[in-house]
């Protein structure tokens, strides 16, 4: 049976419990569900918001490509990824990944793989809004994120 990932890019917040329920409802073969939620930090009070820009169409397509690789590689029973765009305040959600598998290591690996590749290849960009009201810089890509991705090779 082919497992089809659920992929969404939206400005609205997501409901983690509803996403888990959608993935697991009526199933008796799932032994492990791992979720990752990425949230906006205020960077010790320096940040008032993040502005998330994305490439419509490609963002979904790229997330789907990554998700299909993860499902294949870790034999996942379900995978959901939701990424928000627009203005996001400290404490608010940015991204959600839910991975389901028979056993825990595959669920952990599936969610981690999805996040590491999403970070480096899904077309999203973060701009910072400073706490003093000024428009800040675009967040710079981190070498550490490339290294996190490359550990899956």
């Amino acid at each position: 049976m082919t497992v089809v990932p659920t992929i969404r890019v939206q400005s609205a917040d997501f409901d983690l419990q509803a996403e888990i329920d959608a993935l697991t409802a009526g199933r008796r073969d799932i032994g492990a569900v791992v979720t990752f939620t990425g949230l906006c930090r205020d960077e010790q009070g320096q940040l008032s918001a993040l502005e998330l820009e994305h490439y419509p169409g490609m963002a979904e397509a790229e997330m789907r490509r990554i998700a299909e690789l993860a499902i294949e590689r870790f034999s996942l029973l379900g995978l959901t990824a939701v990424h928000r765009y627009g203005k996001i305040l400290p404490g608010e959600n940015i991204v959600l990944v839910v991975a389901a598998a028979p056993h825990r290591q595959a669920a952990f690996d599936g969610a981690g793989f999805m996040m590491d590749f999403l970070k480096t290849s899904a077309p999203f960009w973060k701009k910072e809004h400073a706490a003093d009201g000024s428009q800040g810089d675009w967040v710079a890509a981190k070498d550490a994120d490339d290294r996190a991705r490359d550990k899956w090779r």
Partner: protein
């Protein structure tokens, strides 16, 4: 034939528009040729694309390397390294 170019993040801000349709000269064969051609179009393009090694490009919404040929491209996206997640 014109090609649709779409820009994102600081590439978009520096060029000053989110997208445009351009007629590309016959000598523009690869992504690298395209980036060099764009840099010749004005200061705003030069400013946006000066460190062209870090610029990422997608053809028809799929990532490509700079040596990829652009023949058949309906839409070419040009943007900085991604910082989502």
């Amino acid at each position: 034939m014109s090609t649709k170019l779409v820009y994102f993040a600081w590439v978009r801000e520096r060029i000053g528009k989110p997208e445009e349709e351009l007629d590309l000269p016959a000598g523009v064969v690869t992504v690298r040729d395209l980036l060099n051609h764009l840099k010749s179009l004005g200061e705003e393009y030069e400013n946006a694309l000066q460190y062209s090694d870090v610029i990422r490009v997608a053809i028809n919404q799929e990532h490509v390397e700079h040596d990829e040929k652009i023949a058949g491209a309906r839409e070419i996206g040009i943007f900085p390294p991604m910082t989502g997640g």
